[in-house]
Symmetry: C2
Subunit: 310 residues, 2 copies
């Protein structure tokens, strides 16, 4: 059997870690990177892992899809979910009918556009529960083990989903299949729309500072309730007991900075639209008021813009 | 006629400016200051005014009410409206039955405690529409003319209110009488609970930055609507047209920093409780949801605490 061709778009922490893991598992990986192209081509990507450090050396490193001459089996999109990154245009000239598009990104309703743009291609949506951070060009810190959840978008489990999951698991990445990936996204959103957002808007709060403040706890609960209600009205039933679960889980964490707070502090763009903007749009479509989210979104958007200007 | 005895508590911008103006008008003013006591005693308070600079030299400067040996006709409370400043205890040993308590402070429902603590004393509540800032110890900048609104608390216009207004007007301070001072407070709160709060939570926004952002404008409108509805349910009818008035007025301002933003940037305490905390308490009493305010309050409270620790 020929090696499967993977094209990784986005050599941030998540993409680099997962592709690094499977790069030893008989697949051919091309990585596309604009900012870190030179260093990756020369040295690969260094992964400092709590398990065992390793180096991810892509089979090929490119700067633009115009250099890509293969037929991709899987295009792994692991950039941040940002409106200014036009993945649809980026892959236009290289996508083949057999290509599966895999989105490893945060947020809600991030699949629709690419799903509609390439109706003949299978789209797999994935969520990474892992603590990895890019700490320098082509250098990733892997701080806590986690797992990957993937499912066919908008729902179901396909052959290609199973094959991808098998590749991950055989390479030591715990990957589970999810028939209803949207439901999983809503669940993850509940944490992201509350803790991630409040950690920034509260002036730089760790998870410990958030769980120890009565007022912040009550706000977090309010946001979570709002998202759960919206999910419900959008057809995804989530039990409210998840709120207590999340709060308990978070209060037992060490004093972590959320990924959004790290983005903010490092002057990187935050996923404002994927986390809050899209959520509010979905609420508007069904005429539901989400006053907590509507209060937070303009603040986060404004802070994000100011932060990037500085 | 003997000179009227005024005791000024709080030598910040508002108190210093207004008492400075009337100090030349045949009243006896004692100023109580803890932090600026030495410099005021020695040199008085410098007022740099857009009209004409002047010096406010109190007839007496004290550090504690235990030094106060007169019978005060008016106690002017011009400290910030902060929970940690216990004015009730401060004036306990010097208040006389003929003393009128005058509150020149921001916020809503800031009079109840002192009104209940001294039921035999008249309480006058006042709102200062003026741009003054303390820029250094015993140094005030007066940047824009405005006016003073006073009324008997909880409502009405008394002899003592009229007398006070006369003293101000004769000293060149435009002072109008207001039969329903609570209504005036609600109206001022509408601006403060929106623009002041958002200027801080939005990461340090000027009035221009706020009025020029579509999202922030829409949030400001949402907050204002909430406060107007709460005022309505609390018995104070305010027409929603005030929202457009305020937005127009604010958009025509130069790029000002709000007083709360100046407090934040100068690591001074912000009036979180007087502006948001009390408002939310009033909403809770009548079981009204104020989700915008409830989203903003925990954030502002947390940022205020962090700011003061630093």
């Amino acid at each position: 059997m020929n090696k499967l061709n993977f094209l990784l778009i986005g050599t941030g922490a998540v993409g680099s870690y997962y592709m690094g893991k499977i790069s030893r598992a008989g697949v051919h990986i091309t990585s596309l990177s604009i900012t870190d192209y030179e260093i990756i081509k020369k040295k690969g990507i260094q992964i400092n892992s709590i398990n065992k450090d390793f180096k991810f050396i892509p089979d090929k490193t490119i700067k633009s899809t115009s250099e890509y001459l293969l037929i991709p089996d899987y295009i792994i999109i692991a950039t941040k979910a940002l409106p200014e990154i036009d993945v649809i245009a980026m892959i236009k000239n290289i996508i083949h009918k057999k290509t599966t598009i895999v989105l490893l990104q945060n947020g809600i309703d991030i699949e629709t556009k690419i799903f509609n743009a390439y109706p003949d291609n299978e789209v797999i949506s994935g969520l990474a529960y892992i603590t990895v951070n890019k700490i320098a060009p082509a250098t990733i810190n892997h701080q806590a083990n986690g797992w990957l959840v993937i499912g066919k978008y908008p729902n179901g489990i396909s052959k290609k989903t199973k094959l991808l999951s098998k590749i991950f698991n055989e390479a030591g990445v715990q990957c589970t299949l999810e028939k209803d990936i949207n439901l999983a996204r809503w669940k993850k959103l509940i944490w992201n729309a509350s803790y991630n957002v409040i950690s920034v808007l509260g002036g730089g709060l760790t998870t410990k500072e958030m769980t120890q403040s009565k007022e912040i706890n009550s706000l977090i609960t309010g946001i979570m309730k709002e998202v759960i209600l919206l999910a419900d009205k959008s057809g995804y039933k989530i039990d409210e007991s998840l709120i207590d679960e999340y709060i308990n889980f978070t209060s037992k964490m060490p004093a972590n900075k959320t990924s959004m707070l790290l983005d903010y502090e490092n002057k990187r763009p935050m996923e404002v639209e994927a986390i809050l903007g899209n959520t509010i749009k979905m609420a508007k479509k069904i005429n539901m008021a989400v006053p907590h989210l509507e209060s937070l979104y303009p603040l986060l958007k404004t802070i994000n813009q100011k932060n990037r200007k500085n």
